[in-house]
């Protein structure tokens, strides 16, 4: 299948790129006045 030969490398590239993608990964807030 040609589409598999094309899709598989693209998927791998996407996974590697996603692993190092610049982005905010977590946000933590300390808050007051919460009931």
């Amino acid at each position: 299948m040609i589409w598999k030969r094309i899709a598989a490398p693209l998927l791998l590239m996407g996974l590697f790129a996603g692993g190092a993608q610049a982005q905010i990964r977590h946000v933590e807030m300390r808050v007051e006045g919460m009931t």
């Binding site: 996603g18 190092a20 993608q21 610049a22 982005q23 905010i24 990964r25 977590h26 946000v27 933590e28 807030m29 300390r30 808050v31 007051e32 006045g33 919460m34 009931t35």
Partner: protein
């Protein structure tokens, strides 16, 4: 407040711990999360934020003013407050290397005039990795 935060752009989910006075937010992969918007949304819920920390991956550049800037795509950057850890980022300036850090982007200063809180600077608390 949890529902209000989860309606903000780029937020996957928010976990509010009443006992610890802590809110954990997991961003979506779309990169649309905006710490300043989260601060505003929290204040709009009637809750005061005393501190906000983020964990993020990004590049380090030096601004024309000479200070370091931590840049997170898309189009989001924080001026780095100099400390011992920020010195370790000097070697990454001008390279394509990325670094994952945990840093404080907001803290409630006593006696600060009331108004919409902002998050434009980051004080690095931990360098988790370089790539």
């Amino acid at each position: 407040m949890q529902k209000h935060l989860e309606r903000q752009a780029g937020v996957q989910n928010a976990v509010v711990s009443l006992r610890d006075g802590k809110v954990d937010i997991t961003p979506k992969e779309d990169g649309l999360i905006d710490p300043a918007q989260l601060l505003k949304a929290t204040y709009d819920s009637g809750v005061t934020v005393s501190e906000m920390d983020i964990t993020a991956t990004g590049h380090v550049v030096r601004l024309a003013t000479g200070v370091l800037s931590f840049q997170i795509e898309p189009n989001r950057s924080f001026e780095v407050t100099p400390n011992e850890l920020s010195k370790q980022l000097e070697s990454l300036v001008g390279t394509s290397s990325q670094v994952t850090i945990r840093g404080q982007v907001y803290t409630k200063a006593s006696g600060k005039p009331k108004g919409t809180p902002t998050a434009s600077k980051i004080q690095i608390l931990e360098i988790q990795g370089k790539s």
